[in-house]
């Protein structure tokens, strides 16, 4: 394993030290592992807090700022944060209007956020939880832990964040977050495995001409191992897999995220985006907004995920609302 780190034990603290130095517009509580905006919104505002294991950068810390999150709680690499972090975050950003926790659906995340929510509720803070579970690779059945939360997290954080910034009430913000999640589906393909620093070697071996289809963002193998294929074919299959699970019909508009898993060059992500767009056009679906780049990564894994969020006028307007975070900025 070759990584730009000092040691697996210190990687998170070291990265947060660098992140804090790089982003003076954010306040980084390094010992408690909580990232907030340096300048609090004036007046009461529903606070959005998210968090999850590290190794998915820029998620979540890179989405803290006006128009998006109020706080992020980074856990150890691929390990959900602990309840103390979320409690510290709640205390830091709660302004009386309540708190929305945005939680990716993984057993660890769900349980740790749940414990935190209970503790925060005991302190009298109104808490709502929005669960993100957009990954169609996993069947949502009693036979699994349910669908994983992946790329849709960006959509939920951006759109619910915009609504919160406008002064909407707690239940409205939470409801919208759930609506964005319900309107979103994702699917991912990996060309290589990720190497967790503490593990020291790739999570799985993958022959030169094979890929993992239906992977998550924690370096785990996917649902199936298949032969590698040209980008056009892969993109078409990923689109079709999502559409098979998504209520999208001719004439619908979507927000599309072609997301790099960390080790894939931007050049290739644009190739994929072109093919995704072509396939969607064949199916009569129009991409109204897009993001192409590394947004929800899996350390150094090569590959991509596609997220499609069915959009309407309201969602698009909130998507277009100003945002100023390290990883997403427009005005």
């Amino acid at each position: 394993m070759k990584k730009l780190i000092n040691s697996p034990e210190t990687v998170l603290t070291d990265a947060l030290t660098g992140f804090a130095a790089a982003h003076p517009e954010l306040a980084v509580d390094i010992p408690n592992r909580v990232i907030t905006r340096a300048v609090r919104p004036s007046g009461p505002k529903v606070a959005l807090i998210s968090g999850g294991g590290s190794g998915h950068e820029p998620l979540h810390g890179g989405f803290v700022g006006p128009g998006m999150l109020d706080a992020a709680c980074p856990g150890e690499v691929f390990t959900s944060p602990v309840p103390d972090q979320m409690l510290t975050a709640v205390r830091a950003v709660h302004s009386g209007a309540g708190v929305v926790l945005i939680v990716k659906n993984y057993t660890g995340d769900v349980m740790n956020f749940q414990l935190a929510a209970e503790l925060a509720a005991e302190e009298g803070v109104e808490i709502r939880t929005v669960l993100v579970n957009d990954d169609v690779a996993v069947e949502d059945s009693t036979w699994t832990a349910g669908r994983r939360g992946t790329g849709a997290t960006v959509m939920v954080e951006k759109i619910a964040g915009a609504l919160a910034e406008r002064g909407a009430a707690l239940d409205e913000v939470a409801e919208l977050g759930r609506r964005v999640n319900a309107a979103s589906r994702s699917f991912a393909v990996a060309l290589t495995a990720a190497t967790v620093p503490a593990a020291g070697k790739p999570g799985f071996d993958l022959p030169e001409d094979e890929i993992e289809v239906g992977v998550g963002i924690h370096g785990e193998p996917g649902r199936r191992r298949e032969r590698h294929r040209p980008a056009a074919q892969l993109a078409a299959e990923v689109v079709d897999t999502i559409l098979a699970d998504h209520e999208l019909t001719v004439g619908d508009e979507v927000i599309a995220l072609v997301n790099g898993l960390g080790g894939t060059p931007l050049l290739e992500l644009y190739v994929v985006y072109g093919e995704v767009r072509a396939r969607l056009a064949e199916r009569g679906i129009h991409i109204a907004r897009n993001l192409v780049g590394n947004y929800v990564t899996s350390l150094d894994m090569a590959g991509f995920s596609l997220t499609l969020t069915k959009a309407d006028g309201e969602l698009l307007e909130l998507w277009d609302a100003p945002v100023a975070t390290p990883a997403l900025t427009w005005s």
């Binding site: 697996p8 294991g53 856990g75 150890e76 690499v77 691929f78 390990t79 959900s80 944060p81 602990v82 309840p83 103390d84 993984y106 057993t107 660890g108 349980m111 740790n112 749940q114 414990l115 690779a137 996993v138 069947e139 009693t142 036979w143 699994t144 832990a145 994983r148 967790v196 503490a198 593990a199 070697k201 999570g203 799985f204 998550g216 924690h218 370096g219 785990e220 193998p221 649902r223």
Partner: protein, 206 residues
């Protein structure tokens, strides 16, 4: 079991986790995300430090401190699960010393906490698959004293962990793999076996 023995048990778990870290991580790499070993090592290292300054007047205080520390330091699935389990065991043992029968009740409370929080049933390929047979064995042998009960639980937990190999996971991260999760031993069941093995070792050394 007195507070001293409880502390010894936890220290023994910490030592075992430290020693088996890479094995646990390897198991977790196969069907999870490769952090179970480092998660537990981080957690129990913090627990040992916390116990150094704890003035415990009951077995339960030791176990509860272990639980809250795990919750604060581990994260992931195993942090809240083991944390809640130790907290529940701690709550069940408010007295200075605990009989094997009382310990059996505590172990049952621990399992209940795990299942209430995580919703897993036996056969789902989780911690529950080692803890359930361990609890049954401990209960059955409790009348024969701590050492006998702990050794029975140790053997049953180890067997329970091994028995997860053919199972398809239905809870936790491994469930994402579907049928590909079979053929691998569950990391959490394996660490549960370590915890019971540590109990037997501690009882033997006492």
């Amino acid at each position: 079991m007195d507070t001293e023995l409880a502390v010894a048990w936890i220290r023994e778990i910490a030592a075992a986790v430290e020693q088996q870290e890479s094995y646990l991580t390897e198991l977790d790499s196969a069907i999870g995300d490769g952090d179970h070993g480092s998660n537990l090592r981080r957690g129990f290292t913090a627990v040992v430090t916390a116990l150094d300054t704890l003035e415990a007047d009951s077995v339960g205080a030791v176990l509860a401190k272990t639980g809250t520390t795990l919750i604060s330091k581990v994260g992931g699935a195993s942090g809240p699960l083991y944390g809640s389990a130790f907290r529940a065991m701690g709550k069940a043992l408010p007295q200075a010393t605990a009989t094997p029968a009382e310990l059996a009740v505590a172990l049952a409370e621990g399992l209940l906490a795990i299942q209430q929080l995580g919703g897993a049933k036996p056969g789902d390929k989780t911690i529950v698959d080692a803890w359930t047979p361990a609890l049954a064995a401990f209960e059955a042998a409790a009348a024969d004293g701590l050492l006998a009960a702990a050794e029975a639980a140790d053997a049953a937990a180890a067997q329970g962990a091994r028995d997860t190999v053919p199972l398809q996971a239905r809870k936790g991260r491994a469930s994402y793999l579907g049928p590909r999760s079979t053929g691998h031993q569950d990391p959490g069941a394996t660490s549960t076996a370590l915890i019971l093995h540590a109990l037997a070792d501690t009882a033997r050394a006492a």
